[in-house]
């Protein structure tokens, strides 16, 4: 099962390596990772999505993270009401005759066309993981040329 946790860390060099190293050394899987600065330049914010078999492993991950000297606090979103989002940019095959079809698909999703040229269109979407997945399933029929997506970020309600 996937769980989202956020970790506030000291904004120092090597901290990302400490976090990533802890996961690899103990055999935990990171599904996605998003890192950014916060309003306080001394602190960074990491949102980590982990794939674990059971709650016990999730507990271990949180405890082990807490042991790192540079970790300030950990929030586990599993049992908290929260909003989460991912951002995806997709390049699809496009020709003007497809325009209506593409717009029809986009209208059903949380997506917008941000640029189109003679043969490609770039689409941006922000949403929950399930929404992004549906969009990609639909766009797949169109022919996805390239795709980039961020890790999940989350905030409590």
């Amino acid at each position: 099962m996937r769980h989202t946790i956020s970790v506030l860390v000291e904004n120092k060099f090597g901290v990302l390596a400490r976090i990533a190293g802890l996961f690899s050394a103990r055999g935990y899987n990171i599904a996605s990772l998003a890192v950014s600065e916060t309003m306080d330049p001394a602190i960074s914010y990491m949102t980590i999505v982990v794939e674990v078999k059971d709650e016990k492993i999730l507990e271990q991950i949180k405890k082990q993270l807490n042991k790192l000297i540079d970790v300030v606090t950990i929030t586990d979103f599993t049992k908290k009401e929260h909003i989460d989002r991912e951002l995806v940019l997709v390049k699809v095959d496009y020709s003007s005759k497809d325009k209506a079809r593409l717009e029809n698909i986009l209208s059903k999703h949380v997506a917008k066309l941000i640029q189109h040229k003679s043969d490609v269109a770039i689409i941006e979407a922000v949403g929950e993981q399930a929404q992004i997945k549906q969009l990609l399933d639909d766009l797949n029929k169109f022919g996805i040329k390239e795709l980039v997506r961020t890790g999940r970020i989350a905030i409590t309600k």
């Binding site: 090597g14 390596a17 271990q60 807490n66 000297i69």
Partner: protein
Amino acid sequence: MKMTGSQILIESLKREGVEFIFGYPGGQVLPIFDKIYDAHFLKFILTRHEQGAAHAADGYARATGKVGVCMATSGPGATNLTTGIANAYMDSIPIVAITGQVKTFLIGNDAFQEADVTGITRPITKHNFLVKDINDLARIIREAFYIASTGRPGPVLIDIPSDIQMQEGEFIWPDKVELRSYKPTYFGHPGQIKKAAKLISQAKKPLLYIGGGVITSGAHLVLRELAEKIQAPVTWTLMGIGGFPANHKLSLGMLGMHGTGYANHAIMNADVIIAVGARFDDRVTGRIDAFAPGAKVIHIDIDPASISKNIRVDIPIVGDAKNILGELLEQIKKAPDITEWHKEVDGLKKKYPLKYKDDGKIKPQYVVEQIYEATKGDAVITTEVGQNQMWAAQWYRYDHPRTFISSGGLGTMGFGFPAAMGAKVGRPEKQVIDIAGDGSIQMNIQELGTCVANKINVKVVILNNGYLGMVRQWQELFYKKRYSQVNITSPDFVKLADSYGALGIKVTKKEDVRPAIEKALSIDNTVFVDVQVEPEENVYPMVPAGEAINKLIEGLA
């Protein structure tokens, strides 16, 4: 006051009360060694290999409870420390390792003797630092000692580029350490302690299972009071040896893979297990789903991550063992009625005694017993790893904390000799004896030079069986006696010791064992006692890997 980085380092070490550094110089620590030259409060012990320095710092820390310090140059100097650092990490031993690094502007350039030492040591240190600004140096040193010695202790490494060592900066010693993200819990939750007290009062078959945390926190006296109050038998891990007197009537000895039969059976039959500063390691629990099925578990540990890691715990209490046991002692008003349990445990002791066949040959167990008798149990014993370690754990009776020093978690061959050296430096009034095997002793034998040069008079008793004994034992029992690469030759230890200026004694007859040990103890020098023991003696009892811990192989008909 303006100082160079090296001066700041030395002044900071002085303020931390450091008296000894084990280490080795090199190109990227020259400015530091130039200041060590004048640092008269310090005794620098030049080892013959950086690994020896790390283990010596570790042995010093274990014998004294103080932070051990080791030092090496960049690149190979630092990488040679890593086994010792990993060893200290696994056993939660406070050491501070100081390494030189190439100049800041050369970092990442594949400079001569450059290695990414903070990268390499990240998973084997409690924390590490690369000093990039001279103004951070004093604070970092202060934090390093604080982090190493508080909470669940562990090694901390400080990597100092050589240009930082030479730069000038203002020396400002912080009054205290402020780390917003590091606040160990020392006092147990009162509600949890109350629950534990209630459970203990109702227990029919309580058992104390203690680990290294008892020794780290200095909880041995209050533990003893608690055990006596509730009359619970006490068993310990390898790291917990000395946490409770082996000669006490409630003692069950060590448990686990080579624990006593009665300890292993007792913990399997207990109804309440009080785990103190122990972590339910796989060598202790054996097959995890079969471990102590009927027991409720109270787990006292300073590291929350140790709790419910391997087994499910009913009452976790996070905090310092000494504090929590003190609270628990006050809370328990009514001692449980456990007469039946004592009868059962006495029965187990009779049924599964610790034993070996003492015949005319020199049995390694006999040698360890003779060391015990000759020292009247008053020595500090270190061990190497393997059969020697298990025999030293089983056949010497430790009544005091910090008298048994052994590589528990990492199982590092070559640990015992340099660790003995560190222990002797820290406890010069004690006899310090390394119980060694002929394989392990050859892994850091170069430290003979350090011992003789610095008059660190340790005694090494080599249980010489011509084999890598523990591996041979496993090959005998589980690989049809196909002895693959376990025959090991040794030098003439007597001549070797002599060439270093130490003394060597070779023992080939049983009746010479005791006199040789007595002689070694009486001589004011480092002594190697090479005892030619029965070559294919095995360590028993033994729980095969992956079996329940009451499924013991006894080995004797």
